[in-house]
């Protein structure tokens, strides 16, 4: 009897220690059974957290784990070697990645251009039919060089070329140039992608230079002095090449401020420029000369006999009154009359009228 009552007591005590498997929550706990994850969206009780954080969090965790395992028990289970195993569904929760998303590769200059222009890459067959060799020849790579050699075993010397020139060598050199250019472009693309500054050097000589190239060459050459071209004299009408600040660091004189001078000095300087502008010999103005010549050639008799009728045509109201005001003292009084003369002549000498 004693034994039995003890056991009863013990189970009762233990029973009261064990907590209920039903847990009430204000908001439902988010569960992801695949990863055995429970996320509790409920607000923490501030008061009990302050009083006894450890116990409070322990209880809270127990409750949440209870909810999680209530759900786990509802999953289909099976027995594997004395252990009960639940089959977990696939997880819904997406874990954030630990590393940043890789950046897209920077485009090469050509790719960028193609993208802007909407040029798309076309798939080309590896082999092409060669009419001359009557066989399939690869576009590049293995057996291409051999095929090229078979095809071009002899080369024509162009009509205007030096007959002693080796055409095969010329081809080889041209190909070497192309390869070198491509390599340069490849390296430049890499430098651009890695944001490395590549020092540039002068101007590359080409067979045929445009006037723009030559201008750039002049400007670069001029700035290649110890004082970055500060004391180089300018030729008349010389223009400075634009957009070469990159090649000539520190030499773009366009940005440079002029040294300060006294106002008096500046004035005299400006006056000298005005003098030079004014003393420029005017270009031969053909129109002016012709009109002057016509004016001189007018016989004076006709001028006097210019009748009323002609006056009406040319000398309109305003012109007759104040007509022509003089602002220089060349003293050509007959000017007014001269123009009228032309008018009057009519069919005869009125060449200008037409």
């Amino acid at each position: 009897m004693v034994l039995l009552s003890e056991i009863l007591e013990k189970t009762e005590r233990e029973g009261s220690k064990l907590k209920s498997i039903t847990v009430n929550k204000h908001l439902e706990v988010d569960l992801d059974l695949g990863t055995l994850l429970a996320v509790d969206p409920n607000v923490l009780d501030k008061k009990s957290l302050d009083e006894n954080a450890n116990d409070y969090l322990l209880n809270l965790t127990r409750d949440n784990v209870q909810i999680l395992f209530n759900q786990v028990w509802e999953l289909p289970t099976e027995r594997v070697e004395e252990a009960i195993v639940a089959k977990l569904p696939p997880s819904k929760y997406v874990l954030p990645r630990s590393k940043p998303v890789p950046k897209p590769k920077p485009l090469t200059k050509w790719q960028q251009f193609a993208k802007e222009k909407g040029i798309e890459k076309k798939k080309k067959a590896k082999l092409t039919w060669d009419e001359q060799l009557k066989k399939w020849v690869p576009r590049y790579g293995f057996k291409k060089a051999r095929a090229e050699m078979d095809k071009n075993w002899v080369l024509e010397v162009p009509a205007n070329a030096d007959p002693m020139e080796d055409q095969f060598e010329k081809r080889a050199v041209a190909k070497g140039e192309r390869i070198a250019k491509n390599e340069l472009q490849r390296l430049r693309n890499i430098a651009k992608a890695k944001n490395v500054k590549v020092p540039r050097f002068g101007i590359v000589n080409t067979d045929k230079s445009s006037s723009k190239d030559l201008q750039t060459a002049i400007t670069v050459a001029k700035s290649s002095t110890a004082s970055v071209g500060k004391f180089q004299e300018k030729l008349p009408h010389e223009k400075e090449a634009r957009g070469i600040a990159k090649i000539t660091p520190g030499a773009s004189s366009r940005k440079r401020k002029l040294p300060p001078v006294s106002a008096e000095h500046e004035k005299s300087f400006n006056l000298a420029i005005v003098e030079s502008v004014l003393s420029k010999r005017p270009k031969l103005d053909i129109d002016k000369v012709v009109s002057r010549q016509i004016h001189k050639a007018q016989p004076p008799s006709e001028e006097e006999s210019s009748g009323r009728k002609s006056k009406k045509v040319a000398g309109r109201k305003g012109q007759r009154k104040g007509g022509v005001t003089k602002n220089d003292s060349s003293g050509r009084k007959s000017k007014k009359g001269a123009s009228r003369k032309n008018q009057k002549k009519g069919g005869g000498g009125g060449r200008k009228r037409r």
Binding site: K234, K257, L258, P260, V261, A263, E264, E266, K267, N270, L271, I273, V274, S276, V277, L278, D285, D287, K288, S291, H295, A314, G318, Q319, G322, G323, V324, T325, K326, N327, D328, S330, K335, A338, S339, R340, N342, Q343, K352, R353
Partner: protein
């Protein structure tokens, strides 16, 4: 604000001589003090030396205008006169055109001057010379380029252009925002 380079000063003076001839000297040699040309964001300003020195204390980015704006240098390094320069050009003008009252408004709306609108023209105006346009009561209205010389003008047909419009005081209202 910076001094004009020699090249640009030359371009500026070449342009000014088209309108006022040797009177350009009078703009530099003034009895009432020293005046100079200054450049700021490709605009050219005509300022008294004193004010230019004061303006030097203002950072260039914040400086909007100083003195009188004469015009601007284009990207191709040519100089364009603005209507704001008119008050300095008009008194020294070499070639002048007077407009009839009826043609005044047409010109102020930015149209060329036709022969029919021409009141008077100064003698010896050359073709393509810079001319200052006045109304009959001698108020400067703007400036342009003579499309015909004085002699040609007389024989011209009334609808043909006599002067090509370049700037007029109507711009103060029409294009207020891009005057400077």
């Amino acid at each position: 604000m910076k001094r004009l380079s020699e090249e640009r000063t030359k371009i500026l003076f070449e342009k000014l001589t088209k309108y006022i001839g040797p009177n350009v000297k009078l703009l530099i040699e003034r009895p009432d003090g020293l005046y100079c040309f200054r450049e700021q964001k490709d605009r050219v300003y005509y300022v008294s030396e004193k004010i230019a020195n004061l303006a030097n204390t203002i950072p260039p980015d914040l400086l909007i205008s100083v003195g009188t704006c004469f015009g601007k240098f284009t990207k191709t390094n040519k100089f364009r006169l603005h209507v704001t320069a008119l008050s300095y050009l008009a008194p020294y003008a070499h070639a002048k055109i007077w407009l009839k009252h009826a043609a005044e408004q047409q010109f102020l709306y930015g149209n060329h001057v036709s022969k029919s609108g021409l009141g008077r023209i100064s003698e010896n105006t050359e073709k393509y010379q810079g001319v200052i346009v006045f109304n009959m009561s001698d108020v400067p209205l703007g400036f342009g380029v003579a499309a015909k010389s004085t002699v040609e003008c007389k024989n011209a047909d009334p609808l043909s252009s006599v002067c090509f419009h370049q700037a007029d005081i109507g711009e103060y209202i029409r294009s207020e925002e891009d005057l400077l």
